[in-house]
Symmetry: C2
Subunit: 299 residues, 2 copies
């Protein structure tokens, strides 16, 4: 499974970055291979200053070795080795009418005395608009639901809710975005073998472009004002707050001594913190906030 | 002591904000009173879009009530009430040649069954330049040392080192800035009564303007290029990383349900995250990094 999933994410990285370069039409992804002292490494692919993408990363990491102590405590395990690999992507479009998207597909194994003792998948994808187009939110969630329904009719409801719970900026009492799917610790069970989980997550990975390309094509050339751009940069501040205060993926990267520049590729290119900025009543900006305060059932 | 220190910081807030408005010559501080549901509140004073200060906050908070659980665990205390008050300031100048400054002066009490069981002071001040002028670093540290030496000849060495240790961006293996002073849990002991500590911290508070005004006056009108500004905004990203990943003051604010907009006033106005940005060899930007990698003895 390790090799199977590993080669799946390698292919997916190529497919997604090729598609993004085509959409962008100007910038190309810059590749960086990196090694982790304790074992493993990754391949970071970054696009910057494009026509469409102001900044984006589609990163693969494959790390292994002794399970870092802080994680061992969390998982209540002693003297254990681990292997983890995943693809993680964040795309920050230039146009404030186009949403930021994040996706992650990951696989984890633990071993004791060279024997596999546990294995699970995790991941998901979610959308962070700066201006809300209901049509886009519905499209994104429909793709998520269609994938889920092909594997288990309860998945969409469960993982949509987990996504709303996870991407919650508790200190602001608002969601980071309009959600999508989030799942973790997907272990073999009576209904799903580890290969069934692989089929589910790879189906989702292969559907990522369907979910996002339609939206970015609709929004990438819309006109916008400096005020729209300012609003985008302020909202990107919330993105930073979530990733540095709450995101477990970021903390996992830091705890496992991952490559900082690869971990922080998720951080938006230009960000503003304006004191006590409040959108006007009934404005489009306020409508977004209202939706983020109480997550919506999109499909 | 509660009332004495409380009224000291009220006066200091006025003195510092008056001085900053004079230096700025354009923007005025905006005042916001806020209340904390669980007890207490604060007075936030914010300056934005000035001639000199792009953003700054000089905030007072006075909060009390039941000690929040997470803190009770940390301090190994059960069923305890607390009172905390302090002045916290951050000034982010527009000119990249001028450094950001941070200072904090705070007092803490805990009670059990209405009886005072513990009391301490904490605080300090530190400087974060984007371009290094040794003269400025030396001046700032000299003021710090002079204050310390008036109270105990060991203070400067001890608290300078604590500052270097505290404002350490461990994930980057570099200091946030060029340091200053940091102290905490300053309790009455054989050498220092609680009033001696008050005299020390109020001396430092009263010296803040001496330490910073000289520097900002020297740098506020220096010419700079768009590249200098970009570098400042990238370095401000490190400031955000420290405050959201490592700073205990920020976490204390969040844990005690402080006012978000007051806590986050420390976050810089405009910030950039550029992938894998590395200054040129022997550039002024690289010289700064070199100093941040291994803190220097300035006086």
């Amino acid at each position: 499974m390790k090799n199977k999933f590993s080669s799946f994410i390698d292919d997916l990285q190529k497919i997604i970055t090729d598609a993004c370069e085509k959409i962008d039409g100007k910038s190309k992804f810059k590749k960086t291979h990196w090694k982790r002292n304790e074992g493993g490494g990754g391949m970071t692919m970054v696009i910057e200053n494009g026509n469409v993408f102001e900044k984006g990363g589609v990163n693969i990491s494959k790390v292994y070795g002794k399970l870092p102590e802080i994680m061992a405590e969390q998982l209540k395990l002693n003297d254990v080795e681990f292997f983890a690999c995943g693809l993680s992507l964040v795309l920050h479009p230039k146009n404030p009418m186009a949403p930021t998207v994040h996706a992650n597909f990951r696989y984890f194994e633990t071993y004791k005395d060279d024997l596999l003792i546990d294995q699970w998948f995790g991941g998901g994808m979610d959308l962070t608009p700066y201006y809300l187009f209901e049509k886009d939110a519905i499209h994104f969630h429909e793709v998520c639901k269609q994938v889920c329904d092909r594997h288990d009719e309860n998945f969409y409801k469960t993982y949509k809710q987990k996504c709303d719970e996870y991407f919650w900026n508790s200190h602001r009492e608002e969601a980071r975005g309009i959600g999508g799917l989030f799942f973790d610790y997907c272990r073999p069970n009576k209904k799903m073998s580890i290969n069934d989980w692989f089929l589910y997550i790879s189906d989702l990975g292969n559907s990522f472009l369907d979910s996002y390309v339609t939206i970015i094509e609709r929004r990438k050339n819309l006109p916008y004002s400096p005020e729209n751009k300012k609003w985008q940069e302020i909202r990107r501040g919330r993105y930073v707050e979530f990733n540095l205060l709450h995101d477990k993926g970021t903390l996992f990267g830091l705890k496992t001594n991952g490559r900082i520049e690869s971990i922080f590729i998720s951080l938006p290119p230009k960000v503003q913190w304006v004191y006590d900025f409040n959108p006007k009543k009934n404005s489009e900006e306020q409508m977004l906030i209202d939706v983020l305060k109480s997550p919506i059932k999109w499909v």
